[in-house]
Symmetry: C2
Subunit: 200 residues, 2 copies
DNA sequence: CACCATTGTCACCGATTGGTGATATCAATA
DNA sequence: TATTGATATCACCAATCGGTGACAATGGTG
């Protein structure tokens, strides 16, 4: 060993692993050190304590979100603003359904009061914006639609649905384990999008 | 004192107070006992420990949700299914915006793995159903709309928006503290509802 | 080779957690 | 009044938490 950069990386990886496995609640200096096979003293030396480690983990998560979102950029140009939002919604739904880290990250934004949590929320919001900017040509939402508010509601719905399906075995009344449930939710999600961003 | 029923009630009240003030994370035997001004031993005697107390708190929360929802039953008969959902959405938005207990309860459903959490989710779902049953006359949703899925998404959106606005000072990009933000969200929420449950 | 800063290890601290056993105190009954 | 059973209190336990100081091993530099 005796390789500080490598050790720092190991610690950060372990932190992410702990977050995925145990969530924000199970996160702590001892758990991370144990997972990384490293003395916790090094966490204090290299990251200045728990806060510093969280800060570093925060920027890592922000990058992660950016990458995951950008991975779903449509290849073919879209025709109107509504279709854009449809794609974003589907991409986000796919991420939160397939990536445990996404859910734990969202959960952290809801439960944590640390400062890095706020910057994480802001970074994720920026990632959405970057996605939009990267795709929309000159596409504009209909004038009579409050696009930011509508989109926020849609993103919120997707996030909450995924979070709720994590622990409970029923969402409002729909069975969580049934794949048909998620088909219905996806179709209904698109239906909501099309309802506001009227399609030709 | 020396009044078991009163002591039990005090403990349960304290438990709810702790939940409101500190959330699921700060919940514990010691905190509740301290808040109630009671030795924690009594929690073990009367509720059989932390699990039993949670169980009792769960049924209390379920009743609470039922009451809060039912308090918003419309007086005048509604004309169609869409208007019904509009009212439910507005009522729910009002609850989660004005009642801290609602948010902490929702948060618990997302974070807790205890068994009572699942029954709480189920109870809340039943409360929605009871609300609907109490209001809809012979009203039916449009045939081509998957009402349960749509409604689940709408409820999810409302829950998540309120939860996100609790800690972060910006929801996706909308400033949390600005009252105008919530006006926009409410209007856009109704817009989503009307988009699917097409109005005359 | 000797020095010294960096890297890693170990042992400990006070505080808090969920949980338990023994004991004091009271109210009603015999 | 003496006994008894329920109610309340206190002291303690092992485990874990975040955090710190002292010490051992290492590798490059003079």
């Amino acid at each position: 060993m005796r390789d500080r950069p490598a050790t720092e990386a190991r610690i950060l990886e372990a932190a992410q692993a702990i977050l995925i496995a145990a969530g924000p609640g199970g996160f702590g200096v001892n758990a991370v050190a144990r997972e990384a096979g490293v003395d916790k003293q090094l966490i204090y030396r290299y990251y200045g304590g728990l806060d510093g480690l969280l800060e570093a983990l925060g920027v890592r998560l922000a990058q992660w979100w950016q990458e995951k979102l950008m991975a779903g950029l449509p290849q073919t140009p879209v025709e109107n603003y509504g279709e854009l939002i449809e794609l974003l919604a589907l991409q986000l739904l796919h991420i939160v359904r397939s990536e445990p880290l996404a859910l734990q990250s969202l959960l952290w934004e809801l439960t944590g009061s640390e400062s890095f949590v706020k910057s994480l929320s802001a970074s994720r919001a920026r990632a959405y914006g970057a996605w939009m900017a990267g795709v929309r040509g000159g596409l504009e939402p209909p004038e009579d639609v409050d696009a930011p508010a509508i989109n926020a509601l849609l993103i919120a719905a997707i996030s909450q649905i995924a979070l709720a399906g994590r622990q409970a075995d029923t969402i409002i009344g729909l069975p969580t384990n049934d794949p048909a449930t998620w088909d219905r939710l996806e179709k209904s999600l698109l239906r909501l999008v099309r309802g506001v961003y009227a399609r030709p």
